[in-house]
Assembly symmetry: C2
Homo-oligomer: 321 residues x 2
Amino acid sequence: MTTLEDYLEMNADRIDRMLHRYFGNVHGDLFRASAHLLLAGGKRLRPAVTLLAADAIQRGSSDDLILAALSLELTHNFTLIHDDIMDGDTARRGVPTVHTLWDEPTAILAGDVLYAKAFEFICLAEGADAAKIRAVKMLARTCAEICEGQSMDMEFERREDVSELEYLEMVSKKTGALYGAAAAIGGLLAGANPVQTDALYQFGINSGIAFQIQDDLIDLLANTEESGKDRASDIREGKQTLIAIRAREKGIDLAPYRRPLSAAEIEGLVTILQDAGVIEEVRAVALERAGVAKEALSVIPESVEKQLLGEIADFFVNRGN
Amino acid sequence: MTTLEDYLEMNADRIDRMLHRYFGNVHGDLFRASAHLLLAGGKRLRPAVTLLAADAIQRGSSDDLILAALSLELTHNFTLIHDDIMDGDTARRGVPTVHTLWDEPTAILAGDVLYAKAFEFICLAEGADAAKIRAVKMLARTCAEICEGQSMDMEFERREDVSELEYLEMVSKKTGALYGAAAAIGGLLAGANPVQTDALYQFGINSGIAFQIQDDLIDLLANTEESGKDRASDIREGKQTLIAIRAREKGIDLAPYRRPLSAAEIEGLVTILQDAGVIEEVRAVALERAGVAKEALSVIPESVEKQLLGEIADFFVNRGN
């Protein structure tokens, strides 16, 4: 019996190999800029979800759908390249961001190239034409939602009164929708019926929301060595995460923490938030979403792959980086 | 017998009506930013090419393909929004550019939203699924080519030694490819066979190259009142157009004109270029491309719509704005 860890490692190797095949030897500044982040590694979770969903519907179908799985990874990377410009981020996955290494115009175009390739690759996968058309439509709608989510996220940075409902809408668009599409597209191309496709979408979107909430917790709780990220950056930047929203509801003022923080100050804040029950509550919301995700899978027949999909939802809320 | 002028006017009205239906009443900053340039008018030439190509293959088919025609207009507008950011342009179609009215992050996202809608709309058109998949692939490849063309265009601004071959490659990607896709997608969705589809693509790409060369001529020759654009901006910015390349070949140094120019200075330069035969030669290249475009149509059966397509190629090189 494959463990999820083994599966994800095998999958990441396979996806990396394919990405190197298609993007490892490109010519010219623009295409090298497009390939830069793609080739810097990553956990390749969205392709894993696509391929597991396909095999959960029809075992063996994933072999024909690698290009569709790549399409989800390309979409993810296009959004990262554009987001990094907007957010002014200088590093990701341990390498300088595209607009830092090249320039903003090149980064805009590099993202646009991956965007096009995502749609091309989904058409190049095997599968019935009607299913592919549905997959293209779903990917297109998802891309528009991701843009909306990123727009909300930026708008929230200028506000102090973001509600939990607004936060969940933002996260479900910015992060959840692409996991929803990853699962549903894998299913669709493998021949899932509409009920199964919808269930896979619900699985993905709820997993993605859980993933993002866990990301917020990791930002606050994990040491920089563990997470590879700047600890408590959300708090320092005044981001309206679920942690910040629940803290505000409990009368904890995070405004004084909107500045460079020492490790001791961060620990102090974590203790305050823990004592008020904020961390536990936020964690409960993430776990609940992972539960909803797994429950959605009940209409999918039992299989190893369905089992692994469920474990992915658990992994999303238990990972430490 | 419909004249081309009547047809284009009728078509622009129809496309404008559809755009208003889909984008006239959107909510939120992001979607308003996406709609801004779309609703500012335009000649709607790419949708016209799509619909005429469809009717040239199968009369009446264009009625089912309006959404595919919109897809081409959305693609064009997405590239304009992103190009305006990269080029730092502040006005287009008589209105402020998206990044000027909102900000750069919103403009990046607004373009990305139209990009997604372009792929969604092409799937929503009527037509055989297999043809739609081919259309999506063609649109995706075209988008990547447009990015490459824009990247070359920006790179050329930092060079003085661009060859005619390089210029033609850039123009065929930046402007030609989308006209090629507009014609071929219209044909594909109307049931064109591969020979016809390829001919329509060749018609479009050569028309588009002719269009761009004429654009360069208009920039230099037309009064600001006629063209609505800043006269001789290409010369002032040191753009490597076919005019600049041919002038260089004849030993005419345009470097001294890379600065604010009076109307008299522009007239003086035009006389120099005319006396050297540059204007006539560049015009001949545009006319030759329009001729190649029309010749490509020889495999398409005679019809009013084929006739109008040919007239579009002529119009591209005879228009004054």
